[in-house]
Amino acid sequence: MAFTSKPKSPTTDSPPPAEGPLAPLPAVTDRVTSPELTAGSFNEYVKAWVQRVRGGDSGMLPVLGGLILIVVIFQSQKSVFLSAANLTNLLIQAAAFILLGMAEVFVLLLGEIDLSIGYVGACGAVVTVATAAPPGNHPWWIAILAGLAFTSLCGLLQGALITRLRVPSFIVTLAGLLGFEGMLIFLADREGGRAGGGTLEITNNILRDLVDGNLSVAAGWTMLVLVVVAFAVFHLARDRHRRAHGLVAPPTALTALRILLVAVAGFALVAVCNTNRGRLKSHPFQGVPWVVLIIIGVFGAWTVLLGRTRFGRYVYAIGGNAEAARRAGISLNRIRLACFALGGLTAGLGGIIYASNLGSISSNVDGGQLVLYAVAAAVIGGTSLFGGRGKMLHAVVGGLVIATIYNGMGLIGLSASSQYMVTALVLLAAATVDALARRNATRT
């Protein structure tokens, strides 16, 4: 990225034969180095981290700080905001933004953009809903597979135009934005014609329950325990494996703190969702919505894909320096194609969740707005528009921020006009904080 190497102090570069291999040199100002790389103890880690934040590389701190600020403002205006019912609702609203944001991360990492995912996702939702509806009445999983296959193909097609014909992704997917809106109207009119007026009601209960359905209270807690234990075992085992092979591992206290944070956050989530959201004590309405599990599953799968496989490594490499990736023998076109297809696949999931939340899908979906929210979610979370820098987690946090604004403004009763303007301000603020931080970091 922007960190071109500058010759540092001569002490760094003169080659004194150090005693041990890779002996750390004192006080080199490399802010871009993650502190956990060199810190030996927990205290050192915290110190290095504070130094890094001061140096301008604040990571996700501004976003999380902003999120807390927004929450405080909404809570002070409307006390229902932090109620269990509204928080669960907020999670559900965030789901579509998060999934579409994750779809966008795949292409943003390459330094490309996909403007079509909003309408592609909506088209996929129509395919899914129509497949499960009469007269076919196909089972829910066939319907979902059909929808996802359709959206993956849409991504693949656009990716092929971009890689084979070398048309810029902005142009191809801009055409996609228009073309798939047309296709959405066409599909919705044709399939919805039976029920009437370009709107398809979801007739399949499982499709509706993707968002409306809840885990039982006990199942929610069980899932929490399973996820936290899996997280803990994975991290502890990895640290131990690294130490056993003589590699630097984060201090145990830090890993413990991380596990604790995940456990606390998970506990809060399950506790909120397991609170009775219904009005009647006799008919409790509670439990973790299915969609939360779907998000966690997709997030986990894509994080492993990007962080732990060759494919993911090559995505970052292409985003960082495509020429270097090419010379390393990586097939750029294949990776790019796969990213657009995966973007389409994830967008399809987003569309299905969006439809499941509404209980129907129609030709009125504003895919243009959805895709801009998706890009905004990724960027607010910290993913770079120039490629090579970003994570799936960014889409999750960014999607939550956008949903929080959307939800809170609705609660306060502000108009759509102010909702858009506030979202715009948050996006600008996020981008500005990032730009300022990086300018500070490059100024020595």
Binding site: P7, P17, P21, P24, G246, L247, T309, A325
Partner: protein
């Protein structure tokens, strides 16, 4: 100053000397030998019958003015361009290099001036890019990190704080070291370096020159393209001077001094008389 070809010990890396990676290839034996190489671009003859000998475990400096054909020559060796005629011998056997993969398979690694590193990836990730070891489908980070660490310490690259820092945060000399380490990891027998010190300061240049000497002490041949005669006389064992697509002069470093090298670069003859055609020494 110059180092006699037999002296492979270098002040910075005791212990590594005398431990070549390929015991079979005695230092000084012919590794790559090129004869009558011709490369044309349309009507322009960039290389008109070039002869070049690159001995194993030695540093050969390729010098020449702009447009002399240095880049064309190394790009032909590394398989970017196919020659129009001429022969290449690798360890005595005739070879044809038709693409970069052929060159890599032989053990020729080229470190271009732009280094071809991904700034957003860390040192380990860059060193293994395109060849990551896997375990059950997932990247084997432990293996990569251990091997990267090993290679870097073998090359006496000790100034990086952590091999998990991004390459974008490294100095120019360190980046060069990562690019070279990447080549060494691919079991390179010949490392071609294109102007490795062109953009570096004094301390960084010293680091890269030491790196070149370390490569030599490990039995790896280096073909060094440089404009800087100071650097050349510091590390090279042999000098080859290209002049307008011909090998104007070539021989052990002791045959040259700065003046004769400059004369060869500018006039095509170490004695300064342009009419003389000195092929090889």
């Amino acid at each position: 100053m110059s180092f006699p070809p037999g002296n492979t010990a270098w002040p910075g890396n005791p212990g590594q000397a005398g431990a070549p990676t390929n015991p079979g290839a005695a230092a000084g034996a012919e590794l790559l030998s090129i004869s009558r190489l011709v490369k044309r671009f349309g009507a322009v003859e960039a290389l008109s019958g070039v002869n070049l000998e690159v001995p194993a475990g030695k540093v050969t400096a390729l010098i020449g003015d702009n447009g002399a054909g240095k880049s064309t020559l190394i790009k032909t060796i590394s398989g970017i361009w196919e020659p129009d005629s001429g022969q290449m011998h690798w360890e005595g056997e005739t070879v044809r290099i038709r693409g970069p993969r052929d060159a890599t398979a032989l053990g020729i690694a080229t470190v271009y001036q732009d280094l071809a590193l991904c700034d957003n990836l860390d040192i380990v990730q860059n060193m293994f890019l395109g060849r990551e070891p896997r375990q059950a489908g997932l990247l084997n980070e432990t293996k990569m990190e251990r091997e990267a660490k090993e290679t870097l310490s073998e090359l006496s690259v000790t100034t990086v704080r952590s091999i998990r820092q991004t390459v974008g945060s490294l100095s120019g000399g360190q980046r060069q070291a990562v690019a070279v380490a990447r080549a060494v990891m691919q079991n390179a027998r010949l490392v071609i370096m294109d102007e490795p010190t062109a953009a570096l300061g004094v301390a960084q240049t010293a680091m890269v020159l030491e790196l070149i000497a370390t490569l030599r002490s490990r039995g790896i041949a280096v073909l060094l393209i440089s404009h800087n005669l100071n650097d050349v006389f510091q590390v090279a064992d042999r000098i080859a001077v290209l002049y307008l697509g011909r090998m104007a002069a070539a021989g052990p470093i002791s045959d040259f001094d700065t003046q004769s090298a400059v004369l060869a670069i500018t006039t095509g003859s170490p004695t300064g008389s342009p009419s003389e055609q000195s092929e090889t020494a």
